[in-house]
């Protein structure tokens, strides 16, 4: 799993590459929680190169979503591959996370 982060304005962009499972999700959790501790509360996670997600990955996103919610922030996701999007739907996570087709659309939604 490769995780890249950069900040533009009030939004922190994370891009995920590879597989998010029980082995790799602690890396994302560390990174995400550290960023939240450093006062980043609005995130766009680019999943264009995310090939796989299990409940371990979903759980980390949920932990992050709860933390930023307490600070009126949001985690939004963009560019999910079809089979990844399906996992979000099956898990009921579309009720918690906003999913966008592009990072630009996700970014625009923060402004509105």
């Amino acid at each position: 799993m490769e995780i890249n982060a950069n900040k533009r304005g009030e939004i922190t962009f994370l891009s995920l590459k590879g597989k998010l499972d029980s082995v790799t999700s602690p890396n994302l959790e560390d990174k995400l929680l550290r960023l939240i501790d450093d006062d980043n509360y609005n995130f766009i996670i680019d999943c264009a190169e995310l090939d796989y997600i299990s409940s371990a990955g979903l759980r980390v996103l949920l932990v992050g979503a709860k933390k930023v919610k307490a600070k009126d922030g949001k985690i939004k996701l963009a560019n999910l591959k079809r089979h990844i999007k399906e996992v979000f739907e099956i898990a009921g996570f579309t009720a918690i996370f906003e999913l966008y087709d592009t990072t630009e659309a996700a970014e625009a939604s923060f402004g509105s």
Binding site: K19, D21, S22, V23, Y52, S54, S55, A56, L58, R59, L62, V63, A65, K66, K69, H83, E86, V87, I90, A91, G92, F93, A95, I96
Partner: protein, 141 residues
């Protein structure tokens, strides 16, 4: 039953082996010409089942056995996963409700919820002090 339709994998209960388990299922999917859509669901359900075994049946002990047996017959894939750890009663694990999930402190039951949603049939049998057996069935075609 023809042996060519039967696949067996035995792994130790360490999370690093989840990739091996996923590759095993993916290879069967490709051998048996099962669509990637069905294979993706099987891969995830089996990953979740093995993760649950490592965490709950074996309590993170990483030198215990997990045995996977896969049979492909008459338009269905049947995966039987056996472990020798602590059993549980699936009925005590309710499907999570997302709006309340956000408010809960602890986040559990998600793996089992996914397994139930991804598979066509899920059966669990526990023989105390002996073994636990999870049977996952996915229909295709």
């Amino acid at each position: 039953m023809e042996t060519k339709e039967k696949y067996i994998l035995q792994v130790k209960s360490k999370t690093e082996n989840l990739a091996k388990v996923r590759d095993f299922i993916r290879e069967i999917g490709s051998n048996e010409r099962i669509s990637s859509e069905i294979t993706d669901k099987l891969v995830l359900a089996v990953d979740e089942a093995c993760t649950n075994i490592m965490r709950h049946a074996y309590h993170h002990r990483n030198d215990q056995d997990i045995i996977l047996k896969v049979e492909v017959k008459q338009g269905k894939v049947v995966v039987t996963i056996t472990d020798f750890g602590e059993g549980f009663d699936p009925q005590t694990v309710p499907d999570p409700d997302m709006p309340t999930y956000m408010k809960q402190r602890r986040v559990g039951g998600l793996g089992l919820h996914l397994i139930r949603a991804l598979m066509d049939k899920v059966e669990y049998q526990t023989i105390p002090n002996n073994y636990n057996r999870l049977v996952l069935q996915k229909n295709y075609n």
